[in-house]
């Protein structure tokens, strides 16, 4: 099931925020449920319409860009990198980024180790830092196969890991969330953090790919 109605990011007006491009499609059972639950919780005072609106805006404000800024800073500042590897949430605060209350840990790619993140039981993801996960991260194929044949899954993303490098799979089953600190690409000596951050993709923070090459 896919939804491609992203052109409409309008805000809610009143209790039934119908939107022109969506109205053309039949309402599904679960869309009606979502609408009903939201309205009833507002009417019962569990939360206010303003709180819901603010939360929707907060969700929209999260993106991989926040993680990319942290990675770029870590590439330029060893002391920051050490703090990032200890506690992502605290390191985020230094850059004015709110990474939420769920503890996030970073795992570092080195010449000897390549890390990749999966959640086999669910689809846990550092969403409070880098936003909602892509569909494939939540798919049966990714969740099933990444622990059993990680190198093949990586190859499907175009990522070949040399035989002498350790592939380290992290299954985030419990209370912590994980992100990958990728290695700084060669050929970026002297680059500033903004330019470096442009090389850091969401997928390289999940570990299925490497940062963009400086020439690309």
């Amino acid at each position: 099931m896919t939804h491609d109605h992203d052109s409409d990011r309008g805000h809610d007006h009143g209790p039934h925020p119908y939107q022109p491009d969506l109205e053309a499609a039949p309402l599904t059972h679960y869309q009606a449920m979502t609408q009903a639950v939201g309205e009833l919780l507002i009417e019962k005072g569990v939360f206010s319409a303003d709180e819901l609106r603010a939360m929707l805006e907060a969700i929209d404000a999260k993106s991989p860009a926040a993680g990319a800024r942290m990675v770029a800073r870590a590439w330029c500042d060893d002391a920051f990198k050490a703090r990032l590897l200890t506690d992502v949430n605290k390191a985020a605060e230094e850059l004015g980024i709110d990474a939420g209350a769920i503890p996030i840990r970073a795992v570092e790619n080195t010449p000897d180790v390549h890390n990749v993140i999966v959640c086999t039981l669910c689809s846990c993801y550092p969403r409070l830092l880098i936003g909602l996960p892509p569909d494939w991260y939540k798919s049966r194929a990714y969740r099933s196969r990444t622990v059993r044949e990680p190198r093949r899954v990586l190859a499907e993303f175009g990522t070949a890991i040399p035989e002498d490098v350790e592939v380290r799979v992290h299954d985030s089953t419990a209370d912590l969330r994980y992100m990958v600190l990728p290695a700084r690409p060669a050929g970026t000596e002297g680059w500033d953090e903004t330019a470096l951050a442009d090389l850091v993709t969401r997928d390289c923070m999940i570990g299925v790919s490497l940062p963009k090459s400086p020439g690309a």
């Binding site: 622990v147 990680p150 380290r168 992290h170 089953t173 419990a174 209370d175």
Partner: protein, 94 residues
């Protein structure tokens, strides 16, 4: 609750198959690994999932497994590893 295991300790995941909400993936049950990190006390998700307090909190560990020992005929490299966060009630000394 004091953590029973320390970094470096060999451990084995209990081969248990209860009904209900658990956070120990099927593929590591019964397998031997090693503690790489003691993550601290976390409320028990097997209780929290049913609306209870989850107290007392349980020590949570990062356990590393040799990936080749998790799967018959693993086709990756021998040095590949898999890390899973596991609550203390699922671990025994090995």
């Amino acid at each position: 609750m004091t953590a029973r295991f320390s970094v470096g300790d060999p451990v084995r995941v209990r081969a248990a198959f209860p009904p209900g909400h658990v956070r120990t993936p099927f593929f590591v049950r019964g397998k031997a690994g090693r503690v790489t990190q003691v993550l601290g006390p976390y409320r028990n998700p097997e209780e929290l999932a049913y609306g209870r307090s989850g107290e007392p909190a349980l020590p949570l560990y990062r356990v590393v497994f040799e990936t080749a020992e998790l799967w018959d005929g693993y086709q990756g490299a021998p040095q590949d590893t898999t890390l899973v966060d596991i609550y203390e009630n699922w671990l025994e000394g090995a």
